[in-house]
């Protein structure tokens, strides 16, 4: 019996050698051809004039920071490594998702710049993108709005304590019915703001923007010099906190309407003269304008008065606007009141002249930003500002104003 066991053991040990399974010829990764995303970005012609085609068997490893699942981007991904991030444009839609670790085979892909955006283009998701594993979520970089620059293009950022501006609160993220992209504005509590651009194909396009204050995660995008943030997942819009004052008022005349949004005009004198809108001079969007010249000057006093503002909860309210003028005449005045009832002759109320705080246009239609005008002496529940235009029978300037913003 022992002899038998011994013989069995010997036979077993002779034949028990495990045979290695076959394999097709091994493809190995050339470690000398592995590059990082900053190297890809460096290949791009920043003028956008030429497209660089990668002809070498280069590889990069990166993690997906934005995928197509929300519909906000299509046939696009954003990927990131420790050196930077880049927009990937694919030949077809893919199933890769945020947190996927990819090996990107770069041969045959192109690197180019489109309005400042560096794009890794012509990427076949089936052949060039190899998912190695999932669940590697990259923590977004926390940024303040005014810290973001065009050089952050492609980066995953998180903004804290921000909100959609008061004038956006009735809007949806985009026009999902016509499937067209739209821009919305978010701001911080200091009134700094930036655009959020959303595709009309996004699955949340028809949702009304978040109403509160909080955080949002975005990819930084740009269109030339204009920053546009892109929401990667509506779940990451965590803006349900109490709003700060933020932007209390925006009057940009883009709706071609002087009195929309609760604004009013009062013609104290000169019934033929009034505030109106115009795009003269080649402006992209309308602005507000007033002039007392119509084959001769007319004596007038015309007010443009804001809706009532509650500044009682504000800390450092301030205001800015753009202005331009031409022709000789009385200067435009910026006034503030805490007791104007909203109608009737404004001269019956008490107004404080703030004109001296304004940086005014140098004339000849040259646009000037007013600079920040301090409204903190007026922390009252019923504040209005007004532009008062006066002219005589002998002269009068033409004033143009635009983009009136009051921050809380």
């Amino acid at each position: 019996m022992k002899r038998l066991l011994f013989i069995s053991a010997v036979i077993a040990s002779i034949i028990a050698c495990e045979k290695e399974p076959d394999s097709p010829p091994v493809n190995t990764l050339d470690q000398t051809k592995v590059i990082t995303i900053d190297s890809i970005r460096a290949m791009a012609d920043t003028t956008g004039a030429t497209i660089y085609t990668i002809t070498d068997s280069l590889t990069t490893f990166a993690i997906v920071t934005m995928d197509e699942s929300s519909g906000n981007i299509y046939k696009n991904l954003y990927i990131q490594d420790h050196t930077g991030s880049v927009n990937v444009r694919m030949t077809s839609s893919s199933d890769y998702s945020v947190g996927d670790s990819l090996r990107v085979s770069l041969i045959g892909t192109t690197v180019s710049t489109y309005n400042g955006v560096v794009q890794l283009d012509n990427v076949d998701p089936d052949l060039a993108l190899i998912k190695r594993s999932g669940g590697h979520d990259i923590t977004p970089v926390s940024k303040e709005i005014n810290d973001i620059t065009v050089y952050d293009e492609g980066m995953l950022v998180q903004l804290n304590n921000v909100q959609f501006t008061g004038s956006e609160l009735a809007n949806t993220y985009a026009d999902g019915l016509n499937q067209s992209s739209e821009n919305r504005i978010i701001e911080d509590c200091n009134g700094n703001n930036v655009l959020i651009r959303t595709s009309g194909f996004a699955n949340y396009a028809n949702e009304t923007v978040a109403q509160g204050n909080g955080s949002i995660v975005c990819i930084v995008n740009r269109f030339g010099s204009e920053l546009q943030l892109v929401i990667r997942d509506p779940e990451e819009i965590l803006m349900d906190g109490t709003r700060c004052a933020g932007q209390l008022l925006l009057k940009d005349f883009d709706d071609d309407d002087v009195t929309s949004g609760g604004w009013s005009t009062v013609q104290v004198d000169g019934p033929s003269v009034n505030w109106t809108t115009s795009t003269a001079g080649g402006a992209a969007t309308p602005y507000g304008i007033i002039s007392n010249f119509d084959s001769g000057n007319t004596q007038c006093e015309n007010w443009l008065i804001s809706p009532v503002l509650d500044l009682s909860a504000s800390s450092t309210p301030n205001m800015q606007f753009n202005n331009a003028y031409n022709y000789t005449g009385d200067p435009l005045q910026l006034l503030v009141s805490t007791d104007y009832p909203g109608s009737g002759n404004p001269n019956a109320a008490t107004w404080v002249d703030l004109s001296s705080q304004v940086t005014w246009s140098a004339g000849s239609w040259a646009w000037e930003n007013s600079g920040s005008i301090d409204l903190s002496p007026y922390l009252q529940p019923a504040v209005r500002i007004a532009f008062k235009y006066t002219g005589t029978n002998s002269d009068g300037s033409t004033w143009e104003i635009d983009d009136i913003i009051i921050n809380g």
Binding site: L4, S8, D22, P24, S69, R103, D126
Partner: protein, 852 residues
């Protein structure tokens, strides 16, 4: 005419070879007596019964039922205790074991496999089959390298008297009633026997399955005189089963049921009641009739001659659909993982909720939905039934139940001559078999529709020419109704003729034998339909494929003592490929593999055997190499975006291993047994694959190298072990327990994943590299089985009770096998995960038998 010529060639080959064989045989030498089978004398009283959840043996011809009657502890354990884990002795498929009925081989000529369904349920007739599961001499035929079983169905095989038994079980069937009567050989020289058996389950172990079987057997034998006897036997086992299938782990996880069966669904009847209807039904009834003539020429020689005929129907009923969604709940697009992979959480949640809540609209076939789809499909078919301008209006079925038939007609003739000299037994035999399989489809249910149109919807999509979509181009746009033949219709003709001779010597210290066989096989296809895609090569007879083969084997037993033996056997043989693999897509055309060649097999074993009254042991090492086998399958290929026929040539396999069985009495009636099967079953070559587009026969790829070498042959434990105790009481009772352990279980490797093309996009460090290439290995598993019985004698009546409980611990986590899907998407390696099956939980079988 071409076929006739081939017959003549075949005959010529055969005669030439047989002459050579005969000369060789005569020169073997002088007289000896017949070697008694060592295994037969091992006096193990292993109980006999036949059971299993899937005892139809359709998936590879498992001989377990017959093995259980073996007196070799290894074979008996493999047959009963290892069966649930799909263990295969030596890793061989069923085609390597020859099953004889009255000495006539009964293998299916198309596949080579035995056809157990032909006699299923007739346990009283088949239980005492003579079985040897290894290389051995064979008194009937050359036989397979995996051994043989001979089922004696002559009238004298049934014990004289009545035998009535009832069995109750919770496996594939629930109840069995069996009545058997034999007269024994009577003084008038006649013996008669009959048996009838019925097995039934309204619902089997797996939900939605059912089982209806009634088997019959009759035999009459006449001893004409001292020299001649004549036997006639007929048996048949008509059966209908609602089947289960194995699915993805995902389905089991979603339903929290590892035996979930998606083959059935609820159907609302006109009465408003709902019934469970199975959408995958198997039906068989292919009776066997045989006449056997035994001629005792003298004291030392005899000639046994048999004619065997077998014909009947065998079919599968299943769903088919046209211009409609896949009705099978397990289809991959109906599973949440599909939507998760598409980053579509909304749809994933819909399907996940549907599955996990047990909503039958998700988890089962939705029959009512299919009927509604048919009911709503009013359709005007122009130019119907081959008549221009003929318009057929009515509800065109989108879904049907169709039956796919493979009806067999076979005739076999076998004649074996035995002559015993003093120390030699000489055996020579000739065998001829013809088998004609008629393969076609019929409509079995239009499911509320009025008609079905006999066109191929994939061809409609692929080809502009409308004739290409016609399955039967002689009658374009043929409308078919219940009972009509459609789809495909062809015959497969197989003929085989063999001659063999064997000499067995018995000397004082040494017994040995040697045998040789010559055989010739031919087959051809005969198409009935002219298929619209293959107008030139679908109708009529194909080329005839003819294969000439030879086999030799020899063995020696060295008798160390009367109780200790050493044996060694070796065989070398060539085998023809089967018609099933040579024809690439016989349903539509007669295209075949270019220059198919015979496979070659080398095998051998050595054993050490102990045979003491209280200790039996056998230890064996075996070795088998199989060269140049052919492999072909059809599946959807994601890279080529086409249904393809995939043919591998030069598939080599390698098997080696140890078999160890011991059975010894410890004390009193208590005995212990142990079995170890250690095996290494591998693919051992890099086959070359040719890939054909199924719809056009276009050769898409050829000489594609498949890197299969050293992959494990899957679907079975490569190794298994069992230890058991058995107690036999003095008052005719016994009880036994066995613990069984199964090791090294793999899924069979899908070839297309193991090609350079499959991993072309990947580098070795990508996870996809190994994910694509690595073979799926399953966890080791175990089972614990109990067995027991008791007999009483009451005058002339014998009552015996028998029972067993398998998987006593209710181990429901043991994956016993499955298969890798051949479909494979290299852009998403895990998209088509393997299908796997679990060992059944605790189950039982009890029977009571009365003999008188």
């Amino acid at each position: 005419m071409r076929a006739t010529l081939h017959y003549l060639n075949m005959l010529k080959n055969f005669i030439l070879s047989a002459s050579a064989l005969f000369i060789a045989a005569i020169s073997f030498g002088q007289d000896t007596t017949r070697i008694g089978s060592i295994e037969d004398t091992l006096n193990d009283n292993t109980p006999v019964f036949i059971s299993s959840l899937e005892d139809d043996n359709s998936s590879g011809g498992n001989v377990s039922g017959l093995l259980q009657s073996s007196r070799d502890v290894f074979a008996a354990t493999a047959g009963f205790n290892f069966f649930a884990a799909r263990f295969r002795i030596r890793g061989y498929n069923g085609d390597k074991t020859t099953i004889f009925v009255n000495g006539v081989p009964t293998g299916d000529a198309v596949t080579g496999y035995s056809q157990f369904f032909k006699w299923g349920g007739l346990n009283d007739v088949t239980r005492y089959a003579e079985t040897k599961k290894w290389l051995t001499s064979n008194p009937y035929h050359f036989g397979g390298i995996g051994g043989y079983s001979n089922i004696d169905i002559s009238a004298t095989s049934v014990r004289k008297g009545w035998r009535v038994s009832y069995a109750n079980t919770n496996r594939s069937y629930r109840q069995r009633l069996m009545v058997t009567y034999g007269t024994g050989m009577q003084k008038n020289g006649w013996a008669f026997a009959f048996s009838a058996s019925a097995r039934y389950a309204r619902e089997g172990y797996i939900e939605g399955t059912y089982y209806n079987n009634a088997s019959y057997y009759f035999a009459a034998k006449k001893e004409i005189n001292k020299k001649h006897s004549l036997n006639f036997s007929v048996l048949g086992a008509p059966r209908e089963r609602g089947r289960s299938n194995i699915f993805l782990q995902e389905v089991y996880d979603l339903t929290n049921n590892q035996y979930h069966n998606t083959n059935w669904g609820w159907q609302t009847l006109a009465s408003g009641d709902s019934v469970k209807r199975n959408g995958n039904i198997a039906r068989e009834h292919i009776p066997i009739m045989t006449i056997n003539h035994t001629w005792k020429i003298d004291e030392k020689s005899n000639l046994k001659t048999s004619v065997l005929a077998s014909f009947g129907k065998r079919g599968r009923e299943r769903l088919n659909w046209y211009d409609a969604q896949d009705p099978r709940p397990g289809y991959y697009r109906y599973l949440p993982s599909y939507y998760e992979s598409l980053n579509d959480p909304a749809n994933a949640a819909v399907f996940r909720n549907g599955w996990t809540s047990g909503n039958p609209d998700f988890t089962q076939i939705n029959w009512d939905h299919l009927y509604r789809a048919n009911d709503n499909n009013l359709y005007s078919l122009d130019d119907a039934d081959g008549l221009t301008g003929n318009t057929v209006n009515g509800k065109r079925s989108k879904y049907i139940m169709e039956s796919q038939w493979s009806n067999e007609l076979s005739l076999a003739f076998a004649s074996v001559y035995n002559k015993t000299f003093e120390k030699l037994t000489f055996t020579a035999g000739a065998y001829y078999q013809m088998q004609r399989n008629h393969n076609y489809k019929t409509i079995s249910d239009l499911m509320g529709g009025d008609y079905w149109v006999d066109v191929d919807q994939f061809a409609e999509q692929d080809f502009l020419d409308p004739i290409a979509a016609q399955n039967n181009a002689d009658t374009p746009n043929r409308t078919v109704r219940v009972g009509d033949t459609f789809g495909w219709d062809y015959f497969m003709h197989n003929h085989e003729v063999t001659g063999f001779a064997q000499a067995e010597f018995k000397l004082d210290k040494i017994d040995w034998y040697a045998a040789v066989e010559l055989s010739d096989q031919l087959f051809y296809r005969e198409g009935v339909y002219k298929n619209g895609r293959f107008l030139d090569n679908s109708q009529g007879k194909s080329d005839v494929y003819n294969f000439f083969n030879y086999s030799t084997k020899a063995g020696i037993t060295y008798k160390i003592s009367g109780r200790q033996f050493l044996t060694a056997n070796a065989a070398f043989l060539t085998e023809a490929p089967t018609s099933r693999t040579v024809f690439i897509s016989p349903r539509t055309r007669d295209n075949a593999v270019d220059n198919p060649i015979n496979e070659t097999i080398y095998t051998g074993d050595i054993s050490y055997i102990l045979r003491y009254p209280k200790l039996k042991m056998r230890a064996t090492y075996y070795y088998m190499e199989r060269k140049d086998a052919l492999w072909s399958r059809s599946f959807y290929h994601d890279e080529y975006r086409s249904f393809v026929n995939y043919v591998m040539e030069g598939v080599d396999q390698f098997h080696q291993g140890l078999e160890f069985g011991i059975d010894g009495e410890i004390v009193g009636g208590l005995s212990a047994n142990g079995v170890l099967a250690w095996g290494q079953h591998l693919y051992s070559s890099r086959p070359t694959a040719s890939v054909y587009r199924d719809n056009s026969a276009e050769l898409i790829d050829e000489d594609k190298l498949v890197y299969l070498e050293n992959y494990k042959i899957g679907g079975m434990p490569q190794s298994a072990a069992s230890v058991g105790l058995k107690y036999s009481g003095k008052k005719y009772w016994f009880a036994g327990v066995n613990f069984n352990y199964f090791m090294d279980i793999y899924l069979d490797p899908g070839p297309d994943r193991r090609t350079a093309e499959a991993v072309a996009n990947f580098v070795e460090s990508d996870p996809q590299w190994n994910e694509t290439l690595d073979q799926t290995r399953l966890d080791n598993g175990y089972s614990l089985n109990l067995i027991g019985g008791k007999s009483w004698r009451m005058g002339d009546y014998f009552l015996s009770l028998f029972g067993n409980i398998t998987n006593v611990t209710n181990n429901r986590n043991f994956v016993t096998g499955g298969f890798e899907q051949l479909r494979f998407d290299n852009t998403n390696v895990g998209k088509f995960p393997p299908r796997i099956g679990y060992m059944a939980g605790i189950n039982y079988f009890v029977s009571a038998t009365l003999r008188f």
